[in-house]
């Protein structure tokens, strides 16, 4: 594992009057897979969105490889080398699969080529002309991940990548994430399903009421299982 890649400090965010993030602090090391865990409404998705600048009002510090991103607009943040795979996939209905795949522009070197993408995800290659939303949930999730791999972004934000998907697809996504880790991608993931998270993550942060309340490594996962279940209300 490497040096500090993404550093979030005192991140706060508001949706209108609602104070959703109340000072989030954590870090992601280069090449790590970090999973944010927590109950619904804890602010996990909002954290990803706030890092990407997709939230109207935010304060605090977000640094990528030492560079401060919190004053930038979201397109500038993307160009700094972060890509997001949003909740509910964000596949565009008025675009074909191919157009969806090609949409995010190149933000750095090292993006996967089309050939490599179709090698990894053969189903996509077969459905290029279909409307994006005609794909099944699992195929859309693969598409949502595939399109950000093309951009050359090295920091990936994945929001609930396995939500509502069949176990077979969940396993495929797990394999994909492990493969990405081998290729040196750094991943920050929001995941309700902590059993899935346990198969890929190196580090966990638990969120509650808009703050990070616990952090532990994969090795300490079993030791923290009971505490985790309390936080998640499971």
């Amino acid at each position: 594992m490497g040096s500090r890649f993404l550093a979030v400090e005192g991140l706060q965010a508001w949706y209108g009057e609602s104070h959703v993030l109340r000072g989030v602090t954590f870090e992601v090391l280069r090449g790590e897979v970090v999973s944010l865990l927590g109950r619904n409404g804890a602010g996990k998705s909002t954290t990803l969105k706030a890092i990407m600048g997709m939230v109207a009002k935010r304060t605090g510090s977000v640094k990528l490889a030492g560079r401060e991103l919190s004053r930038l607009t979201s397109n500038e943040i993307a160009r700094a080398g972060i890509a997001i795979c949003p909740e509910q996939r964000g596949i565009f209905a008025s675009l074909s699969v191919e157009e969806n795949l090609e949409l995010p522009p190149e933000v750095g070197p090292g993006g996967l080529s089309r050939a490599r993408i179709f090698e990894l995800f053969p189903n996509l290659g077969e459905r290029l002309a279909s409307r994006g939303t005609k794909l099944s949930g699992g195929e859309q999730q693969i598409l949502a991940i595939a399109r950000i791999l093309r951009t050359g972004a090295r920091m990936l934000l994945l929001d609930e990548p396995t939500e509502g998907l069949a176990p077979v697809i969940v396993q495929q996504i797990g394999r994909t994430i492990r493969m990405l880790k081998e290729h040196g991608f750094t991943i920050l993931m929001v995941e309700q399903n902590f059993r899935f998270a346990a198969t890929v993550a190196d580090q966990y942060y638990v969120m509650e009421h808009g703050r990070v309340v616990e952090g532990f490594a994969q090795a300490e996962f079993d030791a923290n299982r009971d505490k985790l279940q309390q936080y998640l209300g499971v």
Partner: protein, 295 residues
């Protein structure tokens, strides 16, 4: 010459051509409105005034700078389009987070200002702008005689409309536009400068209106109010075609022009209201418009 339902064929075909010419303007203006509405979620009430500005710009370029029709076809859309970009930056960009109705109200106010200023300086009566020499002739098609200028207007409109549709529906830039229409926040988060795209889209829509204005100058009366009564008909056209639909606006525009032309031939008293009547019927049977699925 022969008769169809009691109308001599030359008169009928003449009306059809006129209808297609009107339809060309409905389609061009409807297209502009649909493109702007799709990206900005704003009904550009000022579209008619911007069309009028295009016609006046052609007149002024000729009067003050001796610049004729052909260069005007290119220059005027660029100039008025730039004006549109200024409007977007100064006034419209503050409205995107608000209820859509505020966009309608602001552009309505803008239309009043533009039209009022032009009426103050140029009066209510029309200004003549001649048909360019090259297009003053006619073609004899056997069953009718087709004047060159109307044919030119129709041809330009068809090319521009379908060209715009193609660019939006089939090109990469078009895919950016379509995606930004659906989910601008996400498109921006991929690294695309969406605010700039919005600004340029409004400019493009305004340029389309201005182009229609130049095309209109030789055949319609160039006056301060030439845009306002026209724009209400175009609103009806866009409601019929479906507000977000580019193809819907184009097809509805040309189609309703033909319907209006035919009505003028057979029931002239109804010709000014027939498009509204069609709108009523469409609202009763397919409220979302003819080309749009869903809510």
């Amino acid at each position: 010459m022969f008769e169809i339902f009691g109308i001599p064929s030359t008169a009928l075909f003449g009306q059809l051509v006129l209808g297609l010419v009107n339809g060309s303007f409905y389609a061009l203006l409807g297209l502009g409105l649909a493109v702007i509405f799709g990206m900005l979620n704003i009904i550009n009430f000022a579209h008619g005034a911007q069309y009028m500005m295009g016609a006046f710009a052609a007149v002024l370029l000729l009067d003050k700078l001796g610049i004729g029709y052909w260069p005007a076809l290119v220059l005027v859309p660029v100039i008025i389009g730039a004006f549109g970009i200024v409007i977007e930056r100064l006034l419209l960009q503050w409205l995107y987070k608000l209820d859509h109705l505020y966009g309608l109200l602001l552009t309505f106010g803008l239309a009043l200002v533009i039209e009022g200023v032009f009426r103050r300086y140029y009066g209510p009566s029309g200004i003549r702008y001649g048909v360019p020499d090259l297009l003053q002739g006619e073609q004899n098609l056997g069953f009718m005689s087709l004047p060159d200028y109307p044919a030119w207007v129709i041809a330009v409109s068809v090319v521009v409309c379908f060209g715009t549709w193609f660019a939006i529906a089939r090109t990469r830039l078009g895919s950016y536009l379509r995606a930004a229409t659906e989910n601008p926040t996400l498109v921006r988060a991929f690294g695309i400068d969406v605010p700039r795209m919005i600004m340029l889209t409004y400019g493009f829509g305004v340029a389309l209106a201005a182009l229609a204005g130049v095309l209109a100058a030789p055949i319609y009366n160039v006056s301060a109010q030439m845009g306002s009564d026209l724009i209400i008909v175009v609103f009806a056209v866009v409601v019929i075609g479906g507000m977000g639909s580019i193809m819907g606006a184009i097809v509805a525009g040309f189609g309703l022009g033909i319907v209006e032309g035919l009505t003028e031939a057979f029931f002239p008293e109804a010709s000014s209201t027939v498009i509204f009547a069609v709108m009523v019927i469409v609202l009763l049977i397919r409220p979302t418009g003819l080309f749009v699925r869903g809510t």
